[in-house]
């Protein structure tokens, strides 16, 4: 039976269909979850996709974190289920307190839409288990608020616990310590600004997102 990935659609999400397509192209099952649902419908993994959930009003993710589905995602994550936030999804997960830190406006105040080089810094997460340590991946970014920020104490903790998952080879947005992605202490919640779902076929210019999404399809199932 193939792994079922639930992709959350908020009003204003715009990458959810890309994630569905990418997961299906790798042999997984994928279905949409609505932000107003109070459950994650028994899926095996959850993706919070990119876009502008609730218009990014107030701050990206500030309103989305109160969507009914978020309580279910908190519970799912607490039981060990794999949760990945991509781009706006990363912003939502930081606002929801599932990941530390915050995403600020890019240094240089430019909306960035380009392909970046990423280095895999930890393979001990639900998004990188099938990648190799130090592997360089070419994955697109597409964001205005991707400048990862956190307190010096949080940064020290992330580094000490091997929770910086991906770093940019050439920092595009001012993120502290070149951070492109981080995980929670349980290593089952990962957030990243780059879009692995947009690097899953030759036609898209790169297939380097494949090892990341394959990792998600092999993620451990939530308890209970």
């Amino acid at each position: 039976m193939s792994v079922r990935v639930g992709v959350v659609r908020f009003p204003g999400s715009n990458c959810e269909l890309d994630v569905l397509e990418a997961v299906r192209s790798l042999g997984g099952d994928a279905e949409l979850l609505w932000h107003g649902d109070r459950s994650v419908a028994g899926v095996d993994a959850v993706v919070v996709p990119g876009g502008f959930a609730h218009g990014d009003y107030l701050r990206p993710g500030a309103i989305a974190r109160f969507s009914p589905v978020m309580d279910a995602i908190h519970e799912f994550a607490a039981s060990g289920g794999a949760v990945v936030g991509i781009c706006n999804g990363f912003q939502v997960l930081t606002e929801a307190g599932l990941l530390p830190g915050a995403l600020q406006k890019n240094r240089g105040l430019k909306f960035l839409c380009t392909t970046t080089g990423l280095r895999v810094e930890s393979t001990n997460t639900v998004l990188t288990s099938q990648a190799s340590l130090g592997q360089v991946l070419r994955v697109p970014i597409n964001h205005f608020e991707g400048n990862y920020t956190c307190s010096p104490e949080t940064l020290a903790e992330l580094r000490a616990d091997d929770r910086v998952v991906l770093r940019y080879l050439a920092n595009p947005n001012g993120s502290v310590d070149d951070i492109a992605g981080v995980c929670n202490a349980g290593r089952n919640v990962v957030g990243l600004m780059p879009h692995p779902e947009r690097a899953t076929g030759d036609l898209l210019g790169s297939t380097d997102g494949v090892p990341l999404l394959r990792s998600l399809l092999k993620a451990p199932q939530p308890a209970g």
């Binding site: 915050a102 600020q104 406006k105 240094r107 105040l109 920020t149 001012g174």
Partner: protein
């Protein structure tokens, strides 16, 4: 009592403010010299019904902490005035 509330949300000290730095760099080109420390924030205004000033302030503090600011990067300054002549 009705209170007129103004919440000013600003980036915490030490958090880079790319909009502020851009404005700071632009001002001298328009002939405004001697400017330092430009910070850009946002202002949120509303009226609030509460029994007294203390409970109004407590309520606004709570909404700042839970919703109006992201405490990781932002601080809030709260201004609160009782509206004169408003019905209790």
């Amino acid at each position: 009592m009705l209170f007129s509330v103004r919440v000013e949300v600003s980036l915490r000290p030490g958090i880079a403010d790319p909009q502020g730095s851009t404005i700071e760099r632009s001002l001298p080109t328009l002939g405004f010299d001697g400017i330092r420390g430009v910070r850009v924030g946002k202002s949120i205004r509303f009226d609030l019904l509460a029994v007294d000033e203390e409970s109004a302030r407590r309520e606004v503090d709570d909404m700042c902490r839970r919703f109006l600011t992201n405490p990781v990067i932002e601080d809030a300054t709260i201004d609160l005035d009782a509206c004169e002549g408003a019905p209790a």
